[in-house]
Every structure is written in structure tokens, then in C-alpha cells.
């Protein structure tokens, strides 16, 4: 494995992302807009849960951050489908770069976008929406990072399973809504229907939000996020193993 080659592919893919920033702007601006509209609802629900003095940002900021991180799977997936559409995938494969170097170099830039997007949302939350981080920032970072790790694994599974970009984007959009909604990213868990509360733990967003709320609302530290971090990493391993068993460098993908 050569760091030089990974960095060459990384820089190149960062340029590709930045050269066409539309999708990134959308997934960063949309949550800001939604936060503005949903903050009041968040405050009401949090107060009814007993968090007096909450601004509502403690719900809408992590909620939107997690929801739009899920939508971010599209950035990772696109990065692969684009190569097929542009005819460059075979060129990369015929280059001296090994499969693992190609994967790392290609996945890290869009994964960083998901991270940066999350940081922007938390920063905007603190500056514009009265978000008060009561607990440990390190624990917060740990939650954000493990969520991103899970999404990288999920993206690889999506790339492995789907053969066209429209399948990928349809599946990402629907799944992000379902997993996000079920996990309490839209409306807080306490006001979801009973059946939804019962099955919520199957959603990775549930565990992300559980950890984020523990830090933001309950002032938790690393101790408080160990369980969600562990569960997300475990889920990442399972999903990554599935992806690895299905992923073929020789598969053809269509940019339609």
C-alpha cells in the first residue's frame, strides 16, 4: 500500500467533488432551513420530556445532522458511479493503484464531506440556534466519527448492490427518510407512534441520536456514549463484511 498513491487519488477526488459542489451545498443548506422551521417543535417536545430551558436546538441540530449524514451516502455512492459513467473506472483499475488504494482514496473525500457538513451544522447550531453542548466535546466527536464510519460501510454496501445511479439515489433517499425518521431524527422518539418506538433500535440513527442526546442534553461524557459507539462500530463491521462479500471491482455500473 502506498500513501503517495492514496493521496494522489484523494486529492483528485476532492477536486472532483469541489468542481461540482451542487449536491454538497444542498445537503448542507437543507438541514439549516429545516432547523429554522423545526426548532419550536423541538423545544415543545423537549420541555414535555422534562428538559426545561431547552432551546429545541438540542433536538433539531443532532436530528438534522444525522438525517443529512444519511443522505450523504449519495456523495459516496456517486463518487463510484461517476467513474463508470465517465469511463475512468477501468483506467483506474489498469493503473498501478491497488484496489484498496483506490477505495481509500475515493471514499475519504466524500466521507470528509459528511464530517464537515456535520461540523458546520453543529457550529451553526451553537451560533444561530442557541445550541448548548452540556457534555463532553470528545464524546460528541466520538459519536459523529462512528456515525460516519457506519455510513462509509453502508455506502460500500449500496455501491456493491446497485447497478445504476438511479437505483442508488432512490434507495438512499427512501432509506435515509425511514431510518432517520424511525431513529427520531425528524420528530423526537417520545412522540413517535408506539410501534415505531418499539422497532426504532433497528435504525442506526436511533443509536447515533441516543449518544448525541446523552452528550447534549444530559451532559454525558465518554462513559455515556460507549454503548451507542460500540453498537455502531459492530454494525459497521457487519455491513462492511456484507459489502466486501458482494463488491466486485469488475462489476459494470451505469450512470443513468
Amino acid at each position: 500500500m502506498s500513501l503517495k498513491r492514496i493521496s494522489a487519488i484523494f486529492r483528485h477526488n476532492t477536486r472532483v467533488l469541489v468542481s461540482d459542489p451542487g449536491p454538497i451545498i444542498v445537503t448542507t443548506l437543507m438541514p439549516l432551513v429545516l432547523m429554522t422551521f423545526l426548532q419550536g417543535m423541538g423545544r415543545t417536545v423537549l420541555e414535555s420530556e422534562g428538559f426545561t430551558g431547552a432551546s429545541g436546538a438540542e433536538h433539531v441540530v443532532p436530528g438534522m445532522a444525522v438525517l443529512f449524514s444519511l443522505f450523504g451516502v449519495i456523495h459516496l455512492g456517486m463518487s463510484f458511479f461517476q467513474e463508470h459513467g465517465w469511463g475512468t473506472w477501468d483506467r483506474l483499475r489498469a493503473s498501478p493503484a491497488s484496489p484498496i488504494e483506490i477505495l481509500l482514496g475515493k471514499m475519504l473525500p466524500p466521507a470528509s464531506i459528511i464530517l464537515i457538513q456535520t461540523v458546520v451544522l453543529f457550529a451553526a447550531g451553537a451560533l444561530l440556534f442557541d445550541l448548548d453542548i452540556r457534555g463532553s466535546v470528545v464524546a460528541l466527536a466520538a459519536m459523529v466519527l462512528t456515525t460516519t464510519v457506519f455510513l462509509i460501510a453502508l455506502s460500500m454496501l449500496a455501491v456493491a448492490l446497485f447497478t445504476t445511479i438511479s437505483q442508488l439515489s432512490a434507495a438512499t433517499n427512501v432509506l435515509a427518510m425511514i431510518l432517520g425518521g424511525l431513529g427520531g431524527a425528524l420528530a423526537p422518539l417520545s412522540v413517535l407512534p408506539d410501534w415505531a418506538q418499539t422497532i426504532a433500535p433497528i435504525s442506526p440513527a436511533y443509536w447515533s441520536l441516543m449518544g448525541l442526546r446523552a452528550v447534549l442534553l444530559e451532559g454525558g461524557g465518554m462513559q455515556a456514549v460507549l454503548v451507542p459507539v460500540g453498537i455502531l462500530l459492530g454494525a459497521s463491521l457487519v455491513v462492511a463484511a456484507l459489502a466486501a462479500s458482494r463488491f466486485r471491482f469488475t462489476d459494470e455500473k451505469a450512470w443513468v
Binding site: V16, S19, G87, D90, R91, L92
Partner: protein
């Protein structure tokens, strides 16, 4: 530089390569000829490590491509048949990626980009987005991207498709230049006039095998056929032994002069409509056509499809 032995490859039940042997020496340009579907792209992809052969051996230099794909790829450059460029990036950024992946960097990389873009007339286009270049310019960029690391074996799969006359000339000239400096080149094409322009030797792929390997002149001598071609105003008359194609009638014969005299002697009814009489000499073209008559299996397959 390239040594292929008994290479076989099939897709599902369709045998594309049925025992291909091919050698290319350093500095040699081999024009890999064959009709559409002959397996030229399949052959190039296997050499580039993109597909696995069913059996056979392929060595690039002294490296086994199947067992040691990673190292083999550092020695070869591939410009695939289908255009592969990053349209949202500039031409220079497209070139930088493949130079850096191949381990060229800094000053060396700038020099290489200079050299390749001068050779392929891309110098003035380097800072334009690849997506807005013309078709011929994109082809030249696409080809340049395979050459940045001075590969010892260059695989070009129909590199001049969609290129205008000037682009074609530039690509051919640069390929000749590279070969003169020691690169072994495998140049897949079905466009015969390029073979002479490249000063290449020929490998004809048909029916899954290399059916001819050697120089153009000996190919024409060995397999070229002579014949007579008559052109008419309106439809050609029904002439015994001739095949017709549009307003032409053609017949393969060993002694074209004798055939012309004999045919014209019977020609009272149609001679007023005769526009031209042509003697076809054995050439690369006639040899190629003689070598690539569809094999029985292909004819069967085509009937299947139809």
C-alpha cells in the same frame, strides 16, 4: 516486452479468444487488426489486468500478469476503447492524476506533462475543462493519460475513433515517436490505412486466434488477392463470377488483365454504361478481407441473434 501464449477467454458460452499467441518486442508497433467483435478489446483488457483469462500465460517484461497484476500495471499504459476522462476537471488535472498514481511527481511530472501535451498538441488546452474540449481534443487527452509514466508497453484500443484528421495524424506521429524510443505498442484498430502510417507490423485476430502475424508486405504477398472492379452508371449487369456492391461489380482473379479482356469482349449490351475499370493488386486490404471472412461459428451466432 509482451509475450502471450495460448490465451483463452470465453464469456458465458461464447468463446472469444481460443488460443492466442502474440509477441511484441520493445520499440515495435503491432497493429492488432480484426473485425468488430473479434476480441481485440478483450485481449487488451486481459493484458491490462482488467479481466482474467480462462487459461494461458501473459508476461509483460518478465512479470506474469495474472499472478503479479500490480507490478505488471506499473509497466503498462492503457487507453481503453471508450473515452475515459474526468469532464469536470481541467486537462492538466486529468493528466496529473495518472502521473501521480504512477509515482511521477514534482518537476519530473511537469516535464512529462509538457512532453506529452506538446506531442499531442494539448499544450494550449491544459487549463480548459476536459468536458468542453472537442471530440478530437478529448481523444488526444484520453490517449495522453496512458503515457505519462513512459510505460514500456502501451495498449491503445482504437485511439483514433472519433478523432478528426489532424488529431489522428498527431496521435499516430506521437505513437511512432514513443516506439522509436523503445516502447512496445499494441495498437488495436480496424482502420487499415493507419497501419502504413504507423510503420507497424500486423497481427490479425479472427475466429479467436491470430491468423496472421508479420509485416504488411509479406501479408499482402501471402494472402492478398488480385481482382477486377468495374463501375457502372446505374445497376451493374449480371456478370458470371462477379459480386455486386452498389454500382460496382467485383471479381477475384489471378490474372486481372486476361479477365478484363474476356469480360469486355462480351460487353456489347452494357459497355456504354461502364464508368471505370480497375485492377486490384494484392494489398493489405485484400489480404485482410481474405483473412477475416467470417468463421462458421460466427455465422451461426449471427443467425442466432437474428
Amino acid at each position: 516486452m509482451l509475450r502471450i501464449r495460448n490465451l483463452e477467454k470465453s464469456y458465458a458460452s461464447h468463446d472469444v479468444l481460443r488460443g492466442v499467441d502474440l509477441d511484441i518486442s520493445p520499440g515495435e508497433i503491432v497493429a492488432l487488426l480484426g473485425p468488430n467483435g473479434a476480441g481485440k478489446t478483450t485481449l487488451a483488457s486481459i493484458v491490462a489486468g482488467l479481466r482474467r483469462p480462462d487459461s494461458g500465460s501473459i508476461r509483460v517484461g518478465d512479470i506474469d500478469v495474472v499472478r503479479n497484476a500490480g507490478r505488471a500495471r506499473t509497466l503498462l499504459g492503457l487507453a481503453p476503447q471508450h473515452l475515459g476522462i474526468y469532464p469536470t476537471l481541467t486537462a492538466r488535472q486529468n493528466l496529473l492524476l495518472f502521473g501521480r498514481i504512477a509515482g511521477v511527481s514534482g518537476r519530473g511530472l511537469r516535464d512529462r506533462i509538457d512532453e506529452v501535451s506538446t506531442g499531442l498538441a494539448l499544450s494550449d488546452l491544459l487549463d480548459r475543462k476536459a468536458g468542453i474540449l472537442s471530440g478530437g481534443q478529448q481523444r488526444r487527452l484520453h490517449t495522453a493519460m496512458a503515457m505519462l509514466h513512459r510505460p514500456r508497453l502501451l495498449l491503445l484500443d482504437e485511439p483514433t475513433v472519433g478523432a478528426d484528421v489532424e488529431s489522428r495524424r498527431q496521435i499516430l506521429a506521437f505513437v511512432r515517436d514513443l516506439a522509436a524510443r523503445g516502447t512496445a505498442v499494441c495498437y488495436a484498430t480496424h482502420y487499415l490505412p493507419e497501419v502504413d502510417d504507423l510503420d507497424a507490423t500486423v497481427a490479425v485476430l479472427n475466429g479467436g486466434r491470430i491468423v496472421y502475424r508479420g509485416s504488411v508486405s509479406s501479408l499482402a504477398r501471402a494472402h492478398g488477392t488480385s481482382g477486377v472492379r468495374l463501375a457502372f452508371r446505374g445497376d451493374p449487369p449480371d456478370l458470371a463470377g462477379f459480386e455486386t456492391d452498389g454500382s460496382h461489380a467485383f471479381r477475384t482473379v489471378d490474372q486481372p488483365g486476361v479477365e478484363i479482356a474476356r469480360t469486355l469482349a462480351d460487353g456489347t449490351a452494357w459497355v456504354s454504361r461502364l464508368e471505370s475499370v480497375e485492377i486490384i493488386r494484392p494489398s493489405l486490404e485484400t489480404a485482410y478481407l481474405a483473412l477475416t471472412v467470417p468463421t462458421t461459428t460466427e455465422t451461426e451466432e449471427q443467425t442466432h441473434v437474428a
